[in-house]
């Protein structure tokens, strides 16, 4: 039955359904069970924000609490994947990924290539991303561009509960390593989610709103900021396409180009830092492949090139706001061909 559930519950449900369906699916990570070994507390925690709560009671020893050694258990998950399991490794915060770069970049991402296609690595690394949680510089980054850069990895960042469930099931069934990025400020966000299992294919962006004047490309939490901006712009009679990329690698260039060909104007929103980001990637790709469709230069709305501040006031300023997106749309409408909203008759 379709009902409204949170993104956190949708992720839990996806893992539960895949564990029921496929005995090779296992889950490991820090506190994913919580308190194993303490009588009566075996299912106490369910991960740092309780996403996997309740799964131990259903699937027992297929969930494993690991020592605080990311390189060890992420490596173990990757090895298990190469040996026929479908492990999900939960790495609390993407910020900690640095200690297991060899396992991810140089092993998991390379096995298929190095062994001539004879090895596959169906591992999912679930991790929390994003700012706004008052968790300071070492627990708040949006490091999606770093993983998107590496061939052999797939990178997913859902914006809502429905997408999270379908994309996570797809990630678990996929035969390549997937970095599954969960925005901690979206865990409570609710949408209509069928109780049954379903998949959303990788490389398919979602056009969440349609308009003829400009294209806003976003992912994760920024989709919601873009929708707020679109709502504000609609009051000024400016109608925008809002594209949720959903997966960053592979990425759905066709949908982005198709939209820009209709609107002629592009704003890319990324919660990552401004350089070598998803924003620069999309702007550059459109600039190279659809330059003729652009009526004005692409605009980027990103976080600044600084660590995420701990001061709440500064952190709020750090995160790209809907106001900044509105301003960027106005900038692109005010510049270039047919500026001021008046299209040249062609």
């Amino acid at each position: 039955m379709a009902r409204k559930i949170s993104m956190k519950d949708a992720i839990n449900e996806a893992i539960d359904l895949e564990m029921r369906r496929d005995p090779t699916v296992i889950l490991m990570g820090e506190d994913v069970v919580g308190g194993t070994g303490s009588p009566g507390e075996a299912d106490a925690w369910g991960g740092v924000l309780g996403v996997t709560k309740g799964l131990y009671a259903k699937h027992g020893k297929r969930l494993m609490d690991t020592p605080l050694s990311e390189s060890a258990y992420v490596g173990a998950a990757i090895g298990a994947a190469a040996c026929g399991m479908r492990p999900i490794a939960e790495l609390m915060f993407i910020d900690f990924m640095g200690v297991c770069f060899d396992e991810i970049f140089n092993q998991a991402a390379k096995f298929k290539y190095m062994f001539g296609g004879k090895a596959q690595t169906p591992v999912v690394i679930r991790t929390m991303v994003g700012a706004g949680f008052r968790a300071a510089a070492q627990h708040s980054q949006m490091l999606t561009p770093i993983f998107t850069h590496i061939p052999g990895l797939k990178v997913v960042c859902p914006s809502n509960a429905y997408d999270a469930k379908g994309l996570l099931i797809q990630s678990i069934r996929d035969n390549d390593p997937v970095i599954f990025c969960e925005h901690k400020n979206l865990y409570a966000h609710e949408s209509d989610v069928p109780a049954e299992a379903y998949t959303i294919p990788f490389g398919e962006a979602n056009v969440v709103r349609e308009g003829k004047d400009a294209t806003i490309v976003a992912y994760g939490l920024m989709v919601h900021k873009a929708l707020e901006a679109a709502e504000a712009l609609a009051k000024e009679k400016v109608a925008v396409d809002v594209i949720d990329l959903r997966t960053l690698s592979p990425i759905d260039w066709d949908t982005v180009i198709e939209s820009v060909e209709n609107t002629g104007r592009l704003v890319v929103v990324d919660e990552a830092h401004p350089r070598c980001s998803i924003a620069t990637d999309v702007a550059a790709y459109v600039g190279q492949n659809a330059f003729g469709a652009l009526r004005a230069g692409a605009q980027m709305v990103t976080a600044p090139h600084t660590p995420v501040p701990f001061s709440p006031a500064l952190e709020d300023l750090y995160i790209p706001s809907s106001g900044a997106i509105v301003a960027a749309v106005r900038r692109t409408l005010a510049s270039g061909e047919g500026a001021g909203g008046h299209r040249k008759a062609s």
Binding site: M1, A2, Y162, G166, P194, E196, A197, Y198, T199, I200, P201, E204, V207, E210, D254
Partner: protein, 373 residues
């Protein structure tokens, strides 16, 4: 009575989940003379855009619903009145109109969706109305009970109306025990057993029509009458290109042009409608279910089972309704039961005629069910 001369035009409720709609524009001018069935205004919901047709006659004396504005279901959008009604009477009517609260409505109508556990799996259904006679609405291939969103409440005024999700469809189980017409008819009879429907008027659209006919042949005492809408089972032709494309389409881009074949007015295929079908198609088991059904029922691009031919001799009232511009099953099949059935071909409508010409279809169905009572 003043009230009888002043009649409200309200935001319709299309489907069980609709709570509000946006007025997109009026098709009638203030002061126009309105006949029953005239197109009054256009309304758009999350799911679909359609036209509100007049349910009464009179002069359009007030236009209240503003274009591009969202109103709750049952909100007053305009007023029809006879010319004798004075302006002050109409103003008083407008001033005293209270939109019924959605919560009360819900309580009145009971839960939106119900579930029946059959030997072959779970079936989701909706029930509306409390009349003695039962009507069962049976959707077509790839559809669900929301295909009746413009019909279920209209029919529920005088009957108990049930709309179900067929096996493999909507939110029913995706396993199909027996993908033949007989198997699907058996599932329908099991459904009627489970929810306690002794006999019913069966209203079937497309594949649902063929299932209704098969049920009438296999269990004649359970079927009071048949209404067949753009029905399968009346001739061998079917648009196999549509069937194949519907089954294989995996993205919004692929699916949208496919779904446009279902409607004469192509703009009715909204983004939300395409999304909803795509979400259904992505559920585990749906692909297999659709392939099973189509390879059993439409082998080689032809309809395999034609229960219509046998029904010619059956002692049962039949109504046949078709959209003249049907691109899935040709409207010429409407002639198959001529002489036996009352046949209506509706201009300007396609395969989803019960959605595109809802008022006309509802009026025909009410008349048909009334006659067969």
């Amino acid at each position: 009575m003043t009230e009888s001369r002043i009649r409200p035009i309200v935001m319709p409720k299309w489907g069980l989940s609709m709570s509000e709609g946006k007025v997109t524009g009026w098709l009638m001018k203030l002061g126009a003379t309105v006949k029953v069935g005239d197109e009054l205004l256009e309304v758009e919901t999350e799911k679909i855009a359609s036209v509100v047709e007049a349910g009464d006659q009179g002069t359009l004396r007030r236009i209240i619903g503003e274009p591009q504005t969202v109103y709750p279901v049952k909100a007053l959008l305009g007023v029809l009145a006879d010319d004798e009604a004075s302006d002050s009477e109409i103003d008083a009517y407008v001033a005293s109109y209270v939109t019924p609260a959605a919560a009360e409505e819900e309580e009145e109508a009971g839960p939106q969706y119900l579930v029946a556990e059959l030997p072959s799996g779970t079936v989701r259904y909706a029930k509306r109305g409390e009349g003695d006679a039962a009507i069962v609405l049976i959707h077509g291939l790839g559809g669900d009970l929301d295909n009746w969103l413009f019909n279920i409440d209209a029919l529920a005024k005088r009957a108990s109306v049930y709309a179900l999700d067929l096996p493999g469809h909507g939110q029913s189980s995706k396993t199909i025990a027996d993908p033949t017409l007989r198997g699907l008819a058996r599932a329908l009879i099991q459904f009627m057993d489970e929810v306690g429907i002794e006999d019913a008027h069966l209203v079937g659209h497309s594949l649902g029509g063929a299932i209704a006919m098969q049920t009438a042949l296999d269990a004649p005492d359970r079927v009071r009458s048949l209404a067949l809408i753009g029905s399968a089972g009346l001739g061998p032709e079917i648009n196999s290109g549509y069937i194949d494309a519907f089954v294989t389409a995996g993205s919004r881009r692929e699916l949208k042009p496919v779904l446009q074949h279902l409607f004469a007015k192509k703009e009715l295929v909204s983004r939300q409608l395409v999304d909803d079908v795509l979400k259904y198609k992505r559920l585990d088991g749906v692909d297999e279910a659709l392939r099973k059904l189509t390879s059993s029922l439409f082998t080689g691009g032809r309809q395999q089972a034609l229960p219509g031919a046998v029904l010619r001799d059956a002692d049962i009232p039949i109504m046949v309704i078709w959209g003249e511009d049907d691109e899935i099953i040709p409207a010429k099949h409407a002639a198959t039961l001529i002489g036996k059935a009352r046949t209506h071909v509706i201009a300007g409508a396609g395969h989803m005629v019960q959605m595109e010409a809802a008022n006309a279809v509802n009026a025909l169905l009410e008349e048909h069910v009334g006659a067969g009572r």
